[in-house]
């Protein structure tokens, strides 16, 4: 794989009338690495993608690919001259061209035969060689997906952007397609940016995760780091359900309804303890609580308990595998110190 440039976006901002847009975002896309941009709808992730694609110009900041400046305030190198590939959410296959015609569309700078060979190679690597002459409308959702990927990869882009790549697929197909695409993406050697609102996709595919909300980056890091060491309640909520309990500073620790935990470094006006439902266990001993509701969910049971602490009543839902006390019965809660997420309130 040849050396490919890194894409860096610094201080990027784009505002629409009253819409969110993005405010001052920094982002680095490294070749061979998959970055996932996770955020709810309206978080500005599509805007960021369109800015990098060159479909829109930023109001502030710049985008560089290696040493080349691609976008600067109010100006942008047109999309066809950026060397960046984009896979659209709805695939955007050209309905009037065959699969092969779609894949060779971006290869018009090559001699016809060479373009054809390269397209067929790519189709073969994605197990689509027998669909080369088919029309897009006759393909299944998963096949359209792979054609769109082949079309984007054919130009050997330095950067590949994927907009909600799995949103059109139903749940049973989703994981399968995702796991089939990942090796092809890594093999391409491009810097890949996946924009998604699905935490599971982001955690499963990303080397590097960026959490975006209301046009700002909440947290960036490896998926593990983001999951295990969230910086805020909002960042933690993006990666799964989480409940917040009050935490009071007590020396170099914090006291919470679930016990004392180490206080993180840094200053904050107040602290809180975040609890993911699977992290608290029902044990033989621990913090006493009363079961008030149970919901059977297959391999676990969601148990809602009420704890009485010095500062009032706290309600908490715990996902527990194994036998669960009946409603009205006492339960004992335990939270491992390495699972205690103490963040600024």
């Amino acid at each position: 794989m040849t050396d490919r440039p890194t894409l860096t976006a610094t201080g990027l901002a784009r505002r629409y009338g009253r819409d969110a847009g993005v405010h001052v975002v920094d982002l680095t896309l490294v070749p061979g690495q998959v970055t996932a941009l996770l955020g709810p709808s309206g978080s500005g992730k599509s805007t960021l993608l369109r800015l990098i694609a060159g479909l829109e110009a930023p109001d502030a900041g710049e985008i560089r690919l290696g040493e080349t400046v691609l976008s600067w305030p109010g100006q942008t190198v047109p999309p066809e001259h950026r060397g960046i590939g984009l896979m659209f959410q709805e695939h955007a296959l050209f309905p009037h061209k065959t699969v092969l015609g779609n894949v060779t569309f971006g290869l018009s700078h090559l001699p016809r035969a060479e373009a054809r060979d390269r397209a067929l190679d790519l189709l073969r690597s994605l197990r689509l060689e027998d669909r080369a002459k088919a029309w897009p409308s006759t393909l299944s959702g998963g096949e359209q997906q792979r054609v769109a990927l082949a079309r984007a990869l054919a130009r050997e882009p330095a950067v590949l952007l994927m907009d909600e790549p799995f949103s059109g697929l139903d749940a049973s197909l989703r994981a399968e397609v995702r796991d089939a695409l990942t090796p092809a993406l890594r093999a391409a050697g491009a810097a890949v940016l996946i924009v998604t609102h699905d935490a599971e996709d982001a955690l499963a595919m990303a080397d590097h995760l960026v959490l975006l909300d209301q046009g700002e980056v909440l947290q960036a890091g490896t998926p593990e780091a983001c999951y295990l060491r969230p910086v805020s309640l909002a960042a933690a909520r993006m990666l799964g359900p989480v409940e917040a309990l009050p935490a009071r500073v007590d020396g170099d620790a914090v006291a919470t309804p679930l016990g004392r935990f180490a206080k993180p470094e840094g200053e904050a006006t107040g602290w809180q303890l975040l609890v993911r439902p699977g992290d608290v266990r029902l044990a033989d001993q621990g913090v006493a609580a009363t079961v008030v509701a149970r919901r059977f969910a297959g391999n676990v049971t969601d148990v809602t308990v009420v704890m009485i602490g010095p500062d009032g009543e706290h309600r908490l839902t715990v996902s527990h595998a194994g036998p669960v006390p009946a409603i009205g019965q006492p339960a004992f809660l335990a939270l491992a110190p390495d699972r205690a997420l103490v963040v600024p309130a």
Binding site: P78, L86, A92, F94, P136, R155
Partner: protein, 512 residues
């Protein structure tokens, strides 16, 4: 009931075919017939090419680019629909008359003359194209707006320049709409009588009217009408094909408008200039010239006012009757899908042919119901019949679209709550589709206001509409006099056209 409405549209056509193929006396030479047909084909070809170029360019500019005036030009470009083609013909023929001031000035000052005459095949092609390009513009505009911008953006991301993205992706994907728009423009060209007659271009339609008026022969007229019907059927088929192909891949997915391409100042000025030129040439210049020539003339007010009352009266009655029939057709269309197909044939049929088809049963009825009162009523009824038969399909379209937005479960709920099918139509479907009914009524109103050949052939004695009055003056080369009824007609039709074009230009895919 729906089937009955469709029959209304098709009966006159059956009349024409039966008469043409019958063994009545008809002295028309084959050479005349082929000359008419060739002229019609040549004129249609010119209009097809020119409207396609003008309409596509305007639509692509307005939908994909940002330039001064884009917003209001996007609806103003459809305004020439308010003017009948004959109005443009009068204006241009007079403005560019060989003995007119402009040509004298050109020859004297510039030392050049116009390379061609307006009163020629080429001139007629140009004038009709300026009158009918909005059909292509509106169809292409809708198609380009409906296209998910993703396809064009995908092309750009794959290295295509804006021009290549347009010619290889946007235009091929909109080809069905282009075919449909051009088919409509050509249909109108074939149906036009007032403009070509005035410009001295002898098409099949002028032949039909001439055979009736000059030779008084229904049989001869019917025979000339036959190839016209065949052309019309082919065009209708093209238009239908275009419609059925139009929905490939466009509706699916997240719709987002095309990002407007900002244009550098010179190109932006050219874009604004091009759109202004189209509106200017299609409406402002010819009508402005007519207004300029007519101010010296005092109109015959009583005649003018009577004609205006006739025009508006006929247009309102025709709108009500046609919308009622089209609503029946639309309500029954799930049960009789063929009925709508049949009715659409009426739309492709030129008014002159429709009139011929009605003259045959009318002649019989006139003999059965003698007397001037009966005759007057009969004439009006026939005229309304002709309008309804011709425009039912045009009214059907918005009504059907309005009715499909009423979800089946709402209708079923009404039936489960004890309402009959008719009761449900009155209480649920029609009230929910009232916006569509109004749109349909306006479409019919505008078209009837502009209609000439059928009115000319079927109107009761002494009932002149504005279009007929203008045509009478124009025949006598009293163009300044023709200006008054023509401009009044446009002014009366303009509010409806404004309302329709504003509605079209603000509508978005997936919305009413």
């Amino acid at each position: 009931m729906g089937l009955g409405a469709a029959l209304v549209a098709i009966l006159p056509l059956i009349g024409v075919v039966a008469t043409a193929l019958g063994d009545g006396q008809a002295d028309i030479a084959l050479s005349d017939l082929s000359r008419y047909a060739l002229t019609s084909v040549a004129l249609s070809a010119q209009v097809a090419v020119l409207t396609a170029v003008l309409g596509v360019t305007a639509a692509w500019l307005v939908v994909g680019h940002d330039f001064p005036g884009r917003r209001w030009l996007s609806w103003a470009l459809a305004l020439p629909l308010a003017a009948p083609a004959f109005a443009l013909a009068y204006g241009y023929a007079d403005l560019f008359d060989a003995a007119g001031d402009l040509r004298i000035w050109m020859r004297g000052t510039l030392g050049v003359d116009m390379p061609f005459e307006m009163r020629s095949l080429g001139g007629a092609g140009l004038i009709l194209s300026l009158a009918f390009y909005p059909y292509v513009y509106l169809a292409m505009r809708a198609a380009l707006l409906n296209q998910s911008s993703q396809a064009i953006e995908a092309a750009r991301m794959l290295g295509a320049s804006p021009a290549r993205a347009f010619f290889q992706v946007a235009l091929p994907m909109a080809r069905p709409a282009l075919a449909a728009g051009v088919a409509l423009a050509v249909m109108e060209t074939l149906a036009d009588y007032g403009a070509v007659q005035f410009l001295g271009v002898q098409t099949l339609t002028t032949g039909v009217v001439r055979a009736w008026f000059v030779f008084g022969s229904v049989e001869a007229a019917a025979r000339i009408a036959l190839p016209l019907l065949a052309f019309a059927a082919v065009l209708m088929w093209i238009e239908r094909m275009g419609r059925s192909g139009a929905d490939h891949d466009s509706g699916r997915g997240r719709w987002r408008p095309l990002t407007l391409q900002p244009l550098p100042p010179v190109k932006a000025a050219l874009a604004t200039g091009f759109c202004l030129m189209l509106v200017g040439l299609g409406l402002v210049l010819p009508l402005g010239w007519m207004a300029h020539t007519m101010i010296d003339i005092t109109p015959e007010w009583p005649r003018l006012i009577a004609a205006a009352r006739h025009s508006v009266g006929l247009a309102v009655i025709a709108a009500l009757v046609t919308v009622a029939l089209a609503a029946l057709l639309a309500l029954g269309s799930t049960r009789h899908p063929l009925a709508a197909r049949i009715a659409s044939l009426g739309y492709a049929t030129p008014g002159a042919v429709m009139a011929i088809g009605l003259l045959i049963p009318a002649a019989v009825l006139w003999r059965l119901v003698p007397g001037s009162v009966g005759g007057f009523g009969m004439g009006i009824a026939l005229l309304i019949y002709a309008y309804a038969a011709r425009l039912m399909a045009a009214a059907f379209e918005p009504i059907e679209a309005g009715l499909t937005r009423v979800t089946p479960s709402v209708v079923q709920a009404s039936r489960m709550l004890g309402r009959s099918e008719t009761g449900t139509a009155w209480a649920i479907q029609l009230p929910l589709a009232r916006g569509a009914l109004f749109t349909a009524a306006l479409v019919v109103f505008v078209d009837v206001m502009k209609e000439l050949p059928a009115t000319l052939m079927l109107r009761p004695f002494n009932v002149d509409t504005l279009a007929v009055m203008a045509d009478n003056y124009a025949r006598d080369e009293r163009l300044a006099n023709a200006g008054w009824p023509t401009l009044l007609l446009v002014l009366l039709a303009l509010p409806a056209v404004l309302w329709l074009t504003r509605k079209i230009s603000t509508s978005r895919p997936g919305e009413p």
